[in-house]
Symmetry: T
Subunit: 67 residues, 12 copies
């Protein structure tokens, strides 16, 4: 039997969507053990002065619960 | 870089949907710091004796994670 | 064992979405016994002369079937 | 034959979701003629100091195109 | 006023989907008080050597927050 | 030409999701003639004392209308 | 105040989707008063000997409830 | 690089869904240049005296923006 | 026991959506045996010179697998 | 690098949804190598004489492509 | 009170999805003032000779309406 | 008349989502002729030791059927 939890985070990067994913996982790894996968629920950008200023992803992260 | 978490709550009020939202945020503010926004995922009512007894909202609350 | 039916209604009010919900449940209670809850499927407004004239909700109402 | 256009707006109010709908329709009526109805696509709130500061609705507004 | 939280878990069983639900709730009850209901968001199976090896469910669990 | 109606019910069983489906169809057969199929729209469980107390299914039942 | 009900039917025609809609509404008009509109939820076809034998539509029909 | 806009219209015809699509595109061509495609988002009918009086389609039209 | 496969095709016709469905099924019948039904997943049109040039449907076709 | 294909099947069993999943995977294993997982897209039942005669599942099966 | 409009564009780039987003925003900034954010609704690619020739994104852009 | 098929694949890359798309199309081109476009249905990542190890995309690929 394996039981995992799913938690949702939102992360931004000034550089790219891929980097936003990496930043989000890196930040989450400070408090979550046993992360296995993450699903990209949503992608959006913030715009300033007619240009993309930040890339944002919403991630549903799955991590294993230890007994 | 900003990383936020998204958590879901369900709140009820005998008075209105708007009040259910307010009650839910007020209760959540006891334990969550840095709440920024909440999305109304679902609205429903409980019915007793042919009348609305409670208004319920499901909220996805976003709050900033401090480093 | 409990078996319930789910039926959908649409109700309007000139005043508010909350009132449209109340009006719909009140009208439904004339013919349905044992209503337990209702889910707000949809919210829209009718507009006349550039102003909201009616608030409308679509409700999926659950009511218990008696044996 | 009737042809209508559908346009999407986002409107906020410090008071309630119903008021946000009214404010949005009022602002849209400055530039759009022939509005008939609006569908509530999304509802969310902004939070400041642990309290709801603004109610926001996204509306898909239908208005008749004149020939 | 009642405020509840909704949390998502993923649980597996070698035997059946029903058993995966039971295992997930049993594991969650170690850390969560006041669980009221759970919604089956997703069902999938793992396959090994052309046969189902595990049944997995994703559950959104609602539990009451005590004041 | 065939015309059918679709009606939605919700049924529970203390034993399993399959049994909830069977109970719901059995109860519906008391009042509906000509049932052909049913679609599982939703599955959820009620929890008491940290254990599953009831399995619930929402079913959309299709039955043929006789002329 | 206006309260309407929404009911779902499924209708087929050997000729076309448009005809299936017409047949379904015609059959429904035998028992329902005050029909206002119908939404096409789903369209599918039955196939026999490599050819379309029937066109089927699922319709959600709205009809006004008289007081 | 190609950039296109997507706009939504709603069009009706007394005759058929296909004709409603044609009517909508014809009306839109009066003001839009460079239309490439349209997606049928929604189909519904208006009913009068128990018969279909109008077929309506909602179309998301894509048209190329010239530099 | 019956096991069927579901495969998706996209078909166009210069004449109508119904004809696009017929053309798609006719083409599919060259390689698929045992087709039973098809679900219309999507409908769109191509536009040339401000007029509909092609009607397109996406179909999910179900066909029985022989043992 | 891993590349997998996803294919959809539909399978029935007179006994249970779990058995329908098992039957579908067993049949698919005759022609597919490298199956890893399957997602339950849809569950429905056929009804005869007021009773469930068959349980049906639609499965999206993922299998690894060998180079 | 803030009222914003939401408009949808589609943009392509031969290089990457991130670049398609940037190109689309850059083109939109020629005619739209006050852009705040954009949501990625859809991502697809065009293929030529078995290779990706263009990356395309559909964006829902929100921009503030000035009074 | 044009008839196309739509098939779904899943592809991974250690580097980026864009690369996963490219890898998937490259692998598919070994067996599929006439690929025209691909839609990104889903994006997720695998995580090892608190870091992204693989980027995965699910693609629905459309390719023309030759007569």
């Amino acid at each position: 039997m394996t039981v995992a939890r799913v938690t949702e985070i939102s992360a931004t990067s000034p550089d790219s969507f891929d980097d936003a994913v990496k930043q989000g996982i890196a930040r989450a790894s400070k408090t979550l053990r046993g992360m296995k996968s993450a699903w990209v629920k949503d992608q959006n950008v913030e715009i300033e002065d007619g240009k993309v200023s930040h890339y944002r992803v919403n991630l549903a992260i799955t991590f294993i619960l230890e007994d």
